[in-house]
């Protein structure tokens, strides 16, 4: 449904998007993830025909966005980073205007009116229909922006941070709305909120500095990057050498100090793949007369993966997940 091939965009000397390629299948929801300045908005602007790429090709809904922009745009709904609202228009006037531009030309005025009313209901803005767009709160602007993107029932939806600025309840409503589009619509959404990706998207493209660093399902990314399983163990070290004890447990490959306190220390253990060392670890510590205060598996969250991929590109998957260690340390201090 969307095919991006070797897309590159340079703003003068700045390369915002650098040779990006990916595909989105019909009916799929794809998450676009990356830190600030990664090139998400730029990629989306190219896909929607707002600006041409310096190099490469993009096909949206079967049409090349550079060669057949009108056909591609007619099948695409786009919510830009800042919802493009006219402050002097009421919500209803605004959506009617957008409907005139985007709905097929043969649509009758009555159908258009009905569609505007329906979409206002769907995006929960009907109570603001007569309010001027300039007087809406941030969250309502965002929702009117979403209504605008959906108005012509497009095959492809490109949403740039659709939940930015919404309250928790609205975030859930918007996520549900996006999820309900699955199947009929192909959706690409960008976000900084990682749980959102896990909850709404079937696949994630992580980009950093204009390059794709990972494309996979959220579950696979988590699994793949977890590599060797790691364990957090907090030990009362009075009267024993906890470090040596832990090292001697069969299956343990690496022991790091995660945090240190008066009399007890938190360790991070790495074990061989697929090997459960918990019983042996517990027994070893208790047998040496030390106290086992806490033991829990350390799982890499999507946050950790994201940080690892985008801040620490050199470290290959499976290596020490430094950010996770830091997170655990911060957690136990709190």
């Amino acid at each position: 449904m969307i095919e991006v091939q070797h897309l590159t965009k340079r703003y003068g000397p700045v390369t915002a998007v650098d040779d990006i390629s990916f595909r989105v299948e019909q009916g799929e929801i794809l998450g676009f993830l990356g830190p600030n300045g990664a090139g998400k908005t730029t990629t989306m602007r190219i896909l929607t025909g707002y600006m041409p790429a310096t190099d490469g090709k993009a096909i949206v809904a079967g049409f090349d966005v550079f060669a057949k922009p009108i056909d591609a745009k007619a099948r695409t709904g786009y919510l830009p980073e800042t919802p493009p609202l006219y402050p002097d228009m009421t919500v209803r006037e605004y959506l009617t205007f957008v409907a005139k531009l985007k709905m097929p030309k043969k649509t009758t005025a009555a159908d258009r009116r009905a569609r505007v009313e329906a979409i206002m209901k769907k995006t929960f803005v009907d109570d603001m229909a007569a309010r001027h767009c300039g007087k809406l709160s941030k969250g309502y602007r965002q929702r009117v922006g979403l209504a605008q993107a959906l108005i012509h029932d497009p095959e492809v939806l490109i949403l740039d941070e659709p939940t930015a600025g919404l309250d928790p309840k609205q975030i859930i409503e918007t996520r549900d709305l996006v999820r309900s589009l699955k199947g009929d619509h192909t959706v690409v959404l960008s976000t900084h909120i990682l749980p959102e990706v896990a909850q709404t998207c079937e696949r994630v493209v992580i980009i950093n500095k204009g390059r794709v660093v990972a494309v996979d399902t959220p579950e696979n990314l988590t699994r793949q990057l977890r590599g060797s399983s790691s364990l957090y163990v907090q030990v009362d070290v009075t009267g024993g050498d906890a470090h040596a004890t832990l090292r001697s447990v069969p299956g343990v490959t690496k022991v790091d100090v995660a945090d240190r306190h008066e009399g007890f220390v938190g360790y991070e253990l790495h074990a061989e793949q697929q090997r459960d060392v918990r019983r042996d670890v517990a027994r070893a510590i208790v047998d040496r007369g030390m106290g086992l205060l806490e033991m829990r598996p350390m799982r890499m969250s999507l946050e950790d993966i994201f940080l690892q991929l985008t801040t620490n590109e050199q470290s290959a998957p499976g290596e020490a997940p430094t950010p996770a260690g830091q997170a655990a340390e911060g957690g136990s201090h709190a």
């Binding site: 703003y11 707002y50 830009p80 006219y86 957008v98 005139k100």
Partner: protein, 254 residues
């Protein structure tokens, strides 16, 4: 064309949704009215004198309508930049340009739409002045043909300023800068023939040809000459063409 009309309607509604449209229209009518009153008074005084046997009979077209139209061009020079300055600048600043450029609409439909929207406001301003003309018809017998020619001239001349203003607005995000630049550019085209006073005859001829006001004189006299029509229409077309180039360049820059 449907798209262009939708955009024109949006523009027109935009002018009147904020005070700007009303203020501009009101101001224009007021200043025009003041000129009208001044010339009318002058005309009445003089025709009373000529009734008393001094000079020939006064012609209402010659001594009232013609100078009135010439003065109207001055008001237009001041007023039109404030109409066109928002057209592109404001859309660029607020990001709504992103909606237009990602809708299934061509650049030309947007440009024509914006041009028609500004023309719509301008023409309603002119229409408001017809009230004054109606007064003349009620109390005198002016010829209507020069009047029509004069209005046609005003519409075309305003079209030139609007097309130029549209282009300048497409160059910047700042509507104030766009307004001031449009005014200065308009002034240039206004006085350009004065530069020819000390120049060679050929240069003088070219400069006076480029002067937007020179071409208006015949319209004010009631003469519709194709030469002037062609000048105005090609000026408008060229302005719109530059706008399309500018929009395209901006798109590449991002």
């Amino acid at each position: 064309m449907r798209n262009a009309l939708a955009i024109a309607g949006k523009e027109l509604r935009g002018y009147f949704a904020s005070p700007i449209g009303w203020v501009i229209c009101g101001l224009f009518s007021l200043i025009f009215g003041w000129f009208f009153y001044t010339y009318l008074e002058y005309f009445v005084r003089n025709s009373m004198q000529s009734d008393m046997g001094q000079g020939g009979p006064m012609n209402i077209n010659l001594s009232l309508i013609r100078p009135l139209f010439s003065n109207a061009t001055v008001i237009i020079l001041f007023v039109l930049p404030s109409i066109t300055m928002r057209t592109y600048s404001e859309e660029k600043r607020s990001g709504t340009i992103e909606l237009l450029l990602t809708s299934p609409v061509t650049d030309w439909e947007i440009i024509i739409g914006k041009f028609l929207g500004a023309m719509g406001l301008y023409c309603s301003m002119l229409a408001a002045t017809m009230v004054y003309m109606a007064i003349l018809f009620a109390y005198g017998q002016p010829e209507w043909k020069p009047l029509v020619a004069g209005y046609l001239g005003l519409v075309l001349m305003g079209g030139c300023f609007i097309s130029m203003g549209l282009f300048i607005s497409s160059l910047t995000k700042n509507q104030i800068i766009a307004g001031i630049a449009t005014f200065i550019a308009g002034l240039m085209f206004w006085v350009i023939n004065w530069l020819g006073d000390n120049a060679s005859p050929t240069t003088a001829a070219i400069l006076s040809y480029l002067s937007i006001t020179e071409h208006f004189d015949d319209f004010a006299k009631g003469v519709v000459d194709t030469k002037h029509l062609i000048f105005y229409l090609s000026f408008i077309a060229f302005g719109l063409f530059l706008t399309s180039k500018s929009v395209d360049t901006e798109r590449w820059k991002g």
